[in-house]
Symmetry: C2
Subunit: 602 residues, 2 copies
């Protein structure tokens, strides 16, 4: 393609709307254009990148035997009501756009396709002989994001590959899950990116196990914890640490102490001259279930640890049926206004005991079992601990479970792992931290959707069984922008050769120079004919402008038909390294062709 015939417009200045480098660069270099908040047009150069990423995804998926299809973006509400996700997705979390057609029928714009694929499976799969089966698609997805940001990273319309597999049993599911792990690693590697596969929380999708693929970059919205030896890596939402041992408590006798102005762990430790590992910290939350029920949650955790709210939310979701709900619509630290709805008098914040006394609650909160105590594993084995006295300005010391405080009914892991902790799975290793961009996520769904929607098959014994499912997603547009976030410099983008919109750009410094133009035209033609996708900068612009633009848009190899033409040579510059060399005109096509092949095979 000739730049003179393309929609090619670059910007000198960083656009105000962009915060992170990749977003700025894609806008400046004319790859994308904002149409609405979180909604972008992919201009021709960007679309070429996205087609290349899509093609790599297709090849790797097809190699596993998965079949490509295309499911509708418009999804009838009743399918989502069957799975029980309509309210969560359209109201509570505000994830799904919904609309009504002219007949006032409700529909959603698909952010994901479990419901649609499960209804197809329900109608078409009858027998174990049709299994396993794996369908995938590449498609625009929609999310009514609360805060769209970072360009294609968190948009309201974005391209995903999503796949769904169906199995007779967990064994078969795990086999496909392992295949997808391999396929996803191949996809991200072939796009030229560095990444980590990490244990992940399954969130609103649900199911047993799940794993995320994180492209490492400063601008990543996720935190990853990992061990140096590679034996463990997890999203901080999911990570499990083995905290340091608690120091033995100096308080061997139970006593209530006046501890003025000690409403933080730090102040309390200072006042009592003790270690935070000797304290049971009591953190108050309030959960609202989808049926409207509010539950007051008190988490007891060791003084040096923090609550992982994702783990807490999952725990509360698991006990949803106690409260007649199915899912949580809000989990917050209640403010004074929220407390006033169920508290009988102001709470002694900073001095709360492991059990919030009955006299702090309005009668109906006590009666309706709308208070739930959860103890984290870090606090269950503490002895002679310090904790709040349920009275402002007072703590107790030398307390013990079973003596002064009943053991809470739920003992679970809601501990937030952090860098410096030992890995629970391998205590000899210390957890390190990194920022990551989640580009892929694979899930073992199990029978969550098939049971809810009645999608069954008949096994060899003639019995009807729910289909066992997996699902697998990779963000195509996010992956493409991640490549920029991982690879740029002060002059612009440095595309990996594998997904660069073009491999090479031929620049004519002076289009009035016939010799320069002729050589460039010949090389442009021959390179393209040899399969090296090549641009020709034939614009009537100064050479400096052309070099700047070529750097900005990040084409891997730049060929300049300049001064060295008199020696039968052209200058070739590699974008990534800045290496320059003079190459004989006859050798340009074969040399660059070879570089491209090597880069792509690598």
């Amino acid at each position: 393609m000739r730049l003179s015939q393309m929609l090619f417009v670059t910007l000198r200045e960083d656009p105000a709307e962009a915060e992170i480098p990749s977003h700025k660069l894609l806008l400046r270099a004319g790859y994308i254009r904002r149409i609405a908040s979180g909604v972008y047009a992919y201009l021709p150069l960007m679309w070429r990148v996205l087609k290349k990423v899509s093609q790599i995804v297709r090849e790797e998926m097809d190699a596993t035997g998965a079949e490509e299809c295309l499911l509708p973006q418009l999804q009838p509400a009743d399918l989502w009501q069957e799975s029980g996700r309509w309210d969560t997705y359209t109201k509570a979390e505000g994830i799904m756009f919904s609309l009504v057609d002219w007949q006032k029928r409700e529909m959603g714009l698909g952010p994901t396709h479990e419901e649609v694929i499960t209804t197809i499976a329900r109608e078409m799969i009858r027998s174990y002989r049709q299994l396993p089966l794996h369908l995938y698609q590449l498609q625009n997805k929609f999310r009514d994001e609360i805060r769209p940001r970072f360009g294609l990273m968190r948009g309201r319309e974005f391209i995903m590959k999503d796949g769904y597999s169906f199995h007779t049993d967990e064994e078969s599911l795990k086999e496909t899950y392992r295949d997808m792990d391999r396929a996803y690693r191949n996809i991200i590697s072939r796009c030229g990116l560095e990444f980590k596969a990490v244990e992940a929380d399954s969130g609103a999708i649900g199911g047993a196990g799940s794993q995320e693929f994180m492209v490492l970059a400063e601008a990543g919205e996720d935190e990853v914890l990992y061990t140096e030896d590679g034996s463990y890596a997890a999203n901080v939402e999911k990570a499990v640490a083995l905290p340091t041992d608690a120091e033995p408590s100096p308080f061997t006798e139970f006593a209530k102490r006046e501890t003025p102005d000690t409403n933080t762990i730090e102040k309390l430790c200072q006042f009592l001259d003790c270690s935070p590992t000797q304290i049971v910290k009591n953190v108050l939350y309030q959960a609202v279930y989808d049926n409207g029920t509010t539950v007051i949650v008190l988490v007891n955790i060791r003084g040096d640890r923090d609550v992982n709210e994702v783990k807490l939310q999952n725990a509360l979701t698991r006990v949803a049926d106690r409260y007649g709900g199915t899912t949580i619509v809000a989990l917050t630290v209640p403010d004074a206004e929220a407390q006033a709805k169920w508290a009988a008098k102001p709470l002694p914040l900073g001095y709360i005991a492991p059990d919030l006394g009955d006299d702090y609650l309005q009668p109906d909160a006590k009666l309706a079992r709308h208070i739930l105590r959860i103890v984290d594993r870090t606090a269950t084995d503490l002895k002679n601990f310090v904790t709040g006295a349920n009275e402002a300005g007072y703590h107790v010391v030398g307390a013990n479970w079973g003596d002064q405080f009943e053991r809470p009914e739920l003992t679970i892991d809601v501990d937030k792992a952090k860098a410096g902790d030992r890995a629970a799975s391998n205590p000899s290793q210390t957890l390190q931290t990194a920022r990551g961009i989640e580009v892929g996520h694979i899930f073992q769904l199990g029978t969550k959707y098939s049971t809810a929607m009645g999608a069954t098959y008949t096994n060899e014994a003639g019995e009807e069984q729910p289909l066992v499912m997996g699902c697998y997603g990779v963000g195509v547009s996010r992956l493409a922008q991640s490549a920029v976030e991982q690879s740029y410099d002060k002059d612009g983008i440095i595309w990996p050769v594998e997904i660069a919109p073009y491999h090479a750009i031929v620049i004519v410094p002076n289009i009035k120079d016939t010799k320069q133009v002729e050589t460039a035209e010949t090389l442009y033609r021959e390179l393209n004919a040899a399969g090296v996708e090549t641009l020709l900068d034939d614009r009537d612009e100064r050479a400096g402008v052309k070099f700047k633009d070529a750097d900005l848009i990040g084409i891997p190899y730049r060929i300049v038909t300049g001064r060295s033409l008199k020696d039968g040579k052209v200058e070739v510059v590699e974008r990534a390294t800045g290496n320059r060399q003079e190459i004989s005109i006859d050798a340009v096509v074969s040399t660059i062709g070879q570089w491209v092949d090597e880069a792509i095979e690598k």
Copy 2:
């Protein structure tokens, strides 16, 4: 692909939801699955067809120098308000789905992209040196159809290629328009379809000239009129005929006659013993403009002709500014209830004169110029004609324009051409009729959108000018189904080789026969390796079931590893012709490879 590992389910019976053959067959053969009214999942076989059609579209578009991009499906309402189409598209015609995001901002789901591309052009195009420019995309479009039907033919979610070109002047636009005419002919031919390019009405898209590409098929929703010699073809909505000459009138004196029970042309001719060509028929309409104004329209047309309501609507749109509107939201024949809103007394339907007398109108209708008379060209030259007397049971004869009736202010063509008429452009030719499926439509938009949205460029003289635009659409999913509508038999689909999901299918009649299985596996492997896309029916089913399924799904070449194996041969059947031949196993790959190449190059 092996059928045993595919989502492959065929139905014995025609599904009740389908009306036309192609829709029935695509459902029965497992190509598509209905998810909601007018919303379909494309299962793997269908998706292969759609990818092939898309690839042909891309190749032909790229060959013209157009650049592929991808624009958002979510479109902010304000862009459509700028162009003035928001109300028409979301309310009046009910074409566009609209929704609000969580911040209550209105958005539409794109049925077309003039607004989005024009805003991009407005921001990025500055100079004539950037022109001409042509961007296209392949994408799911949405329409809130009043009556979705015929499967992919008229869906609410469907795949289109739409392209938009930008020019300095009409000359450059026409050049690209001609390129698109050629490209579209190539696309449809390469998909193996028979079609006609016809003059078309531009509808809600607007602009000067437009042309449709009609795939000829009985089930087509459009009527095409054409001449045998190929010199003329047009959509009936647009077609211009030269009606037969009027017979000279026998009524040389003006007179009012009592004509009881003659409220149809036929009865009137019988009663007066005259020809319908001697009558001026007066047809009443009511148009509602987008500003709410209602206009009563009386069309005078020759007795043997009918009103083309598309032409009428266009004429009324052209005079919209007289009534303070910009577009028509409803054009109807007013029923008694509607008439009561502006009529002073019941109208003498069947006996109305060319001018509806003032005493039939309520005073404000008279005053506000809310009545418009239009005379069709067929009625302007009539002499001594018969027409209504504005009194039930009475007509006048021997009437003349300028004598008894004022000539109407608007003389235009609102005549509905029909088979048997002479072509206006070539009166020696008679118009023929055919049914067509509109698969493509190209438009010369001119400056409609660029003027409305302020998209300009600076010309060589330094003056700011509105961009001149064209737009070009082809229905990818509709084209694919059209292929089936044009090519099937009682046993199933007969795909053109060019867009068949697979070229060949190898059938093992008996999977317990090792020799059959081995030969089939070898051929399956070798055919695919040679680029012949081949299925293997390795299911544990009776041979008859396999043959029926192969016919139903319409794969061009069937290879059966059956009885003739003992002679070193296999049976090869061509789906389209039913021709069978025994081919030596060694020659199968090269023979079928050659057939496929020939079919695709053809």
